[in-house]
Point group: C2
Chain length 127, copies 2
Amino acid sequence: MTPHTEELAISEVAERTGLTVHTLRYYERAGLMLAPIQRASSRHRTYTAADLTWITFLTKLRSTGLPISQVRAYADLARLGDETRADRLELLQRHRITVVAQLAEMQASLAAIDYKISLYARKDTPA
Amino acid sequence: MTPHTEELAISEVAERTGLTVHTLRYYERAGLMLAPIQRASSRHRTYTAADLTWITFLTKLRSTGLPISQVRAYADLARLGDETRADRLELLQRHRITVVAQLAEMQASLAAIDYKISLYARKDTPA
DNA sequence: CTAGAACTTCGAGCGCGCTCGAAGTCAAGC
DNA sequence: GCTTGACTTCGAGCGCGCTCGAAGTTCTAG
């Protein structure tokens, strides 16, 4: 329980993000971190608030289906600095399109499921 | 090109459902079909309109993330007849809950992505 | 000094959902 | 009769995203 140091142990990050410590280490190995995660004298990882912010955002990318390879591409660009802003924006905008499409498809599928449920709800007609 | 016989070749079903012929055979092997797919004298599969309807619905279950094991469970129940109506309804209702939750999560993630995009769109502030 | 918990690295393994290739069969057209 | 092409079965393989276990280190408390 690090008191108020702003630095978080990996277990604390896991708790706050809903990821496992295994996944956090995996993400780091996979090159998804924006900046190298700093280490304490014990060689333990110490996450900053900025790290946590990024991890939170990356889980949103992941939960909308952006492949890890694309998240890495985004992180790679971000590490290169301001010059890549346009590329990062484009990546996000392209992803946005696919997310919107996914939402539409899910909603359509949900409607079909709801319709089926409504058929079951009428005791008479078999579904 | 089967003229108007109501019976469809696997390639035609693939075209209409967006699945591949490989996937269609895989689904059958996996026990996802409601009724056995009939065969022509050539041993080729011949799908009926009812088969197509079911396959269309099952892709909606799949596209909303219902695992194949659950689709099979549903199909198994359906094959058992009317007595299992309540179970099938419950399965769909349970799935519905998770779909709604997924939609909410995706929408929240989309909002975060949109916010990030809006930051990029302001030329000044770096994102 | 010792025990225990929390961390470390590394590489292997796994579950899911397809995806594919090999080898064979069948019907239709030339 | 022969070729072409769409189909068949079967089992192996694969890509993704973790997930896990082994073996070792370090800090903290008792």
